[in-house]
Amino acid sequence: MVVAIILLLVAVGSVLFHIYSPWWWTPIATNWSYIDHTISITFWITGFVFFAVIAFMAYCVLRFHHKEGRQAHYNPENKKLEWWLTIGTAIGVGAMLAPGLVVWHQFVTVPADATEIEVMGQQWSWNYRLPGKDGRMGTTDVRYVSSENPLGLNPDDQHGQDDVVIASEDLHLPVGKPVKVLLRSLDVLHDFYVPEFRAKMDMVPGMVTYFWMTPIRTGTFDVLCAELCGAAHAQMRSKVIVEEENDYKAWLEKQKTYAELSGRSAVMRATYESGGK
């Protein structure tokens, strides 16, 4: 009796906790509400199964606990019942998997008009790079990394000269424009993680990974590292500021390009412009 009630209370309590929990996902700031919807579907299906199984179990304990003279029913199996349960489970699984795969397809299909930006992690800070006026980012290699060239841009690559370099500062993004975030790391695994964006991806030294998103509301968001990267993993922070197009342009004007930062701006710019014309 008591056992059955406690088991039932666990099920009911879990559902109530879920409903009234003050801890819930952050208000979304990108187009990835599809992901939230998929999570909701999953919560409904799994919640139903969870409650049904435990309630059934509690009932069994209440109804069939040992009493003097009770004999258990002899029933080795019930093929029909098992098949129905299997089919039902398969349908439930399909109902979660299908939307999941559809959304994943969107997730890995970057729209053609997405602007590329780059996030580079290192122990333990974030750096960003935006393509310059030519709209393309220059190549990089960790072999070029030095104190003057913290992101390791290729000094001989024309496309890299006008790239906007933001070392250890906050990143700004325009609202409503799709961006393809290219991810790079200098040393160990990191993960560019903004809870409000939902999307995230590990940054792996030696390769470039990516995800894409469209910010849908303005605001300032915390950037955290979500892949263990050493002693100061928890302190690896930055901010992303999503703002209106005009504010963004005003901010962008104030940023320095790679050529300017590397101190060879005059020479390089001349080369670049003559090459461009």
Partner: protein, 592 residues
């Protein structure tokens, strides 16, 4: 003459086994220390695993103290926190759960349940334990070497595992990898025994379909472990090369703290593939023995045959096979080719179907049963709840797109603790209450057992259920403190403190359990040979505790499956597996 198949009544003579080459101990040392008796080896495994598991338990307290009350305990800094989580995870997954289920329960139960005298290679079996012990000692020694144990997380991802930004880069990681290599060598020796004993040493009449699900679970898990552990072995050896010899298997060109390193060209993702090719089967290596054991607990204590035995066996085999093609679901956000996501999400969710069938069959076994709410049964019920909970949250993380926001958050921590921490531990504890009488001849104290169950079950549930929601909120795992972040409300800290208090209470309950183990050994109620009135062979031994060689002069002969409970028309509500069928009257008359 009545038409009766001749063999239904034939009293089968015991198998003609040649004199088994048992090593008969000659001294105290060879009987209790360098013993070749699987039962003694099982106890040695269990005690060693428990001892190192207690270290991991204390580490979890320290972690929780730091998380619940950040800044209060000045002796825990970020480095130590990382070392604690790493050692806690590695110990719990490999040195406790794997060793306990396979080395402990496997060694004790396989020979007894299949009716063998001992494991088939007793000497190798003994070596297996001593190599395991050496692995544990090497692991424990890292607490005392310069730089301390590694803090790379139990997944040991390169490059950070062997770079100086991670604690324990000097000796910790080298000894950790060496310890893993030793563990795998030791396990392989034991694993060969478990598999071959099931294949070759089953007693007469013990077909595969008459084996208890416990044996099925441990057997399948061992086969998987034998095939999967080499992946960890290869990954460990390669990482040792990278760390010690400066090769670049996993190490790309990188700049560490402003210094160009001499590594180049390697692939961190390659390590992840190897690691998870072991790591995912490992989840089921822990889960399948638990599935098997809990099936037997439920059946025995509900006095009812396990519902859908055949489905249960097929499900175990199916899960074992499928678990080798789902590994990359741990790597959805690792940067591997995104198209893998489609394949691995599908296989991962498919594996939920056989797993769900098992859950249904457990609860359907309760239906119209005669449920004795003994302590083992309570733990079995606790297992079902925590396993259903943890299994269902697995559907979130296995579904690739849902995993994207949740990966590397506390949701993951809550999920895997529920499904492969709390749930298997529930089974381990229930199993100890169940088989302790066979091992010692005495019952564990019931009152302490019930106290232990309720505090452990409710406490663990209250630790890990709310933790999912911290993860849903977005708090990342492996943070020694959350720090300042606008999206985290202050109430989260209250919840963290609550979880810490619960963790300490659950830990305290385990002390009661340990006391019970010791106290009952001396003062417990004598149990007799078969206190739970169970059908399986281990309860039918001539002596309790079973002597060397398990069975008297003759091996038992098996006449029926392992679940003849409450058979209509039978005198008792159980029929032991070795009880011959009753001769029909026609045969009695025909007999001279």
């Amino acid at each position: 003459m009545v038409d009766v198949p001749y063999d239904r009544i034939a009293d089968v003579p015991p198998a003609e086994v040649p004199e088994v080459e048992l090593y008969h101990p000659k001294s105290w040392w060879t009987q209790y220390v360098f013993s070749q008796d699987a039962k003694v080896i099982a106890i040695q495994y269990s005690l060693t695993a428990t001892a190192i598991g207690l270290v991991a338990l204390v580490l979890s307290w320290l972690m929780r103290l730091q998380l619940g009350f950040p800044g209060t305990f000045s002796f825990i800094d970020a480095n130590q926190y990382l070392q604690f989580i790493t050692m806690h995870g590695m110990i719990m997954v490999i040195y406790l759960l794997t060793a306990l289920f396979l080395g402990g329960f496997g060694n004790y139960l396989i020979p007894l349940m299949v009716g063998a005298r001992d494991m088939v290679f007793p000497y190798v079996n003994m070596l297996s334990y001593w190599v395991y012990l050496l692995a544990v000692l090497v692991l424990a020694s890292t607490f005392f070497v310069p730089g301390g144990p590694t803090g790379a997380g139990w997944t040991l991802y390169p490059p950070q595992a062997i770079l100086s930004g991670t604690p324990g880069q000097d000796w910790g990681i080298i000894l950790m990898l060496s310890s893993l290599i030793l563990f795998i060598i030791g396990f392989t020796m034991g694993g060969l025994n478990y598999v071959v004993t099931v294949l070759q040493a089953r007693t007469r009449g013990m077909t595969l379909m008459r084996m208890p699900l416990t044996v099925w679970g441990i057997f399948t898990a061992t086969v998987m472990a034998l095939l999967a552990f080499p992946a960890l072995f290869v990954a460990s050896v390669m990482m040792l090369f990278d760390r010690v010899l400066g090769t670049s298997f996993f190490m790309p060109a990188l700049v560490e703290m402003g210094q160009q390193m001499k590594y180049g060209g390697g692939s961190p993702i390659l390590f992840q593939h190897l690691f998870w090719f072991f790591g995912h089967p490992e989840v089921y290596i822990v889960a399948l023995p638990a599935f098997g054991i809990v099936s037997d607990l439920i059946s025995t204590h509900a006095r009812k045959n396990i519902f859908g035995y055949r489905m249960m066996v097929w499900a175990i085999v199916a899960i074992g096979a499928l678990s080798f093609i789902v590994w990359a679901h741990h790597m959805y956000v690792s940067g591997m080719h995104p198209h893998f996501g489609f394949f691995f999400a599908t296989t991962t969710l498919i594996i939920a179907i056989p797993t769900a069938i098992k859950v249904y069959n457990w609860v359907l076994t309760l239906w119209r049963g005669d449920i004795h709410l003994t302590v083992p049964m309570l733990f079995a019920l606790g297992f079902i709840i925590t396993f259903v909970n943890g299994g269902l949250t697995g559907l979130f993380l296995g579904n690739v797109v849902v995993d994207v926001p949740l990966s590397d958050t506390m949701f993951v921590v809550a999920h895997f603790h529920m499904v492969m921490g709390v749930a298997p531990i529930m089974v381990v504890l229930g199993a100890i209450y169940h088989w302790y009488p066979k091992v010692t001849g005495r019952m564990l104290d019931d009152w302490m057992g019930k106290f232990h169950f309720w505090v452990t079950f409710l406490g663990a549930y209250l630790i890990f259920f709310p933790m999912h929601y911290i993860g849903l909120l977005g708090v990342p795992r492996r943070y020694h403190e959350i720090g300042e972040a606008a999206f985290i409300p202050s109430s989260t800290h209250t919840l963290n403190a609550f979880i810490t208090v619960m963790a300490l209470m659950v830990g305290f309950a385990q002390m009661v359990f340990l006391f019970n183990l010791v106290w009952s050994y001396f003062k417990g109620r004598p149990s007799g040979g078969n206190p739970w009135r169970a059908t399986t062979l281990e309860w039918q031994t001539p002596e309790t505790p079973p002597g060397h060689g398990n069975w008297g002069k003759e091996l038992p002969v098996v006449y029926r499956w392992a679940y003849d409970y409450s058979v209509p028309g039978a005198e008792q509500d159980f029929i032991p597996q070795n009880q011959p069928p009753r001769p029909t009257r026609a045969v009695q008359e025909a007999a001279p």
